[in-house]
Amino acid sequence: MSTVTIHGHEVHDHSHATPTGWRRWLLSTNHKDIGTLYMIFALLMLFTGGLMAMLVRAELFMPGIQFLQPDLYNNMVTNHALIMVFGAVMPAAAGMANWMIPLMIGAPDMALPRLNNLSFWMLAAGGLLLICSIVVPFLPGGGTPVNTGWTLYPPLSLQVGMSMDLLIFTIHILGISSILASINIIVTLFNTRAPGMTLMKMPIFCWAWMVTAFLLILIMPALASGVTMLLFDRHFGTSFFNAAGGGDPVLFQHLFWFFGHPEVYVLLLPSMGIVAHIVPTFSRKPLFGYTSTVGAMISIGAIGMLVWAHHQYTIGMSLAAVTYFMIGTILISIPVGLMILNFIATMWRGAMSFETPMLFAIAIILLFTFAGMTGVMLAVIPGDIQYHDSYFVVAHFHYALIPGALFGLYAGVFFWLPKWTGHMYDEKLGKIFFWLTMIGFNLTFFPQHFLGLAGMPRRIVDYNLVFTEFNAISSIGAFIFGLSQILLPIIIIKTIRGGRKAGDKVWEAAEGLEWTLPSPPPFHTFSDPPVIK
């Protein structure tokens, strides 16, 4: 029976002794501590992946090869993607799920706390393996770096050195980690809701994570089976992807994109869940169309599972197949549009105020809608065959994923940081961070649309002289974007160390169980379930 003191709140832990020091973190089964670990990991990875992006943009500042050899350049492109997707966005979203879901549904913790600990530390192990895969080619006898792009297409991925094997194991470990985390979230959402909270009364962030978690347990194994076959082809003489042995490299593309396309929604949906909390709070109105937003999220997940081959229009599928994938893809714009319109209708005639989270939410609505437009352009077969593998695609998915996923997480950080730390963040710094981020981001990626339409191919270290100006603009934008991100950890650390005290209900119009708790919440919350009317 121990007593812990956290930020002045005295809490009696009556179930088990709470470890202190490093044991508190390594052996943690507390959803808040694990959530914090997830987010620290994500922040470290965000800056690792960001550094790689800076290297790529520095190389592309001028035509010609300045300081990255082609193999290393392609390795940076590959690992930038893998680190951002698996290291930064997914763990940050999982961290917020860990922190907020039990608070939102009035549960004492996640349903399976030890599994929760396992999923985080497997993620950390996977991160370490990924770093090994990057470092190994620099050692003597280390072979070539992974230079395939994050899609890992054979036959190129069959020819890469041992760093590819390390990457395959990384994907296995990360896959298991996120499957375990997803199972935990689903079980938590079904079994530990407070009495009276029906599924359709659940906060929308929980619904977003419900869809995300189901997507994850359905798609991660497809990628795992694909990379396992890759491993067999590389070392055990099989020919899954080797045409000369009766296999087909296109099989890998199908397995990869069966994972890869829904993965986009895995990155997107938690952030949209966050936006769906922020917009009502700062418009001082309940969310317009709760039921239809839940329906839209489920439809996005369901249709998103069935349209993967729109990434592969150029492989020579039959006309019937590509037509199906085109129509399916365009159909997704209906639920996505519904969700966006619900957000806009929530703001309509609301008493709006523009704190940093709200600024990010509005930027997401604008910029993500723009990505949706270029997305429809890319879904159309004759168009896509023109734009395929060009910088237009790069511009499109950065407009989709940076606002759609990353900015949503930033908005969440600013929205919930006072709840997590008990202090208000510096609003002025937050606004400076927002505007610098917006300028940097748009300056980086908007010109890439033009580059792509003019025919600049992606994943190539050098480019034609005619593309010089737009690339220089894009690189300058990227440096502004990259440097301004340093403000984020500064703001977070400043908020942790002090600042104006935050009340229980941090924001004037915030709704939900999490705002009935003190800020920061005590180590154990809702040991006795609250009752929902």
Partner: protein
Amino acid sequence: MRDPQPGERRGGRGALWLALVPATMFAVGFAIAPLYSLICDVFGLQRAAAAVPGAPVAVATPQNRLVTVRFDTNVPNDLPWDFVADIRRLEVRVGTLQEMKFRVRNRSDQSIVGRAIPTIVPWQAERHFIKTDCFCFRDQPIGPGESREMIVRFQVAPALPDDIGALTLSYTFLRHDAATSAAPALNLSSKE
């Protein structure tokens, strides 16, 4: 609604049931290629690998239609052979018999047996490309430093779909020594 304390115990069972989902999806990943073939066969769909064995091809009177046939040769790293086509492309009249020569040289100081695997691109042309004789029908043993000419005789059937104006015949030579031929050899000749 539900009480969270017993809920935790039920959570363990629910998690086990949910774990079946990824396990199934992992297995489906491996089963997807055979399942695809099965579904195509059941519903009679056209598919890429559908080389129709012994499909009767009407050899009509020669027509004036010309088709470009390109030749492509590949040798994997573990086979020390040079393998080149005499010419890279040929304009052929559909329905006429053609002969094409390839040259193979064994650079090593050992005798090696190889076997050539043919592929036709686009796949829709495969059933209309008829090989009457081919070096790929047999294992090809080549002595140390020996150089040999390889012959394929073929015709493009007039039934070739009109939208195909060019096709590629690609060969990959694979090592087929005693060590690698413990498994029964691919009997490609019966297919043609």
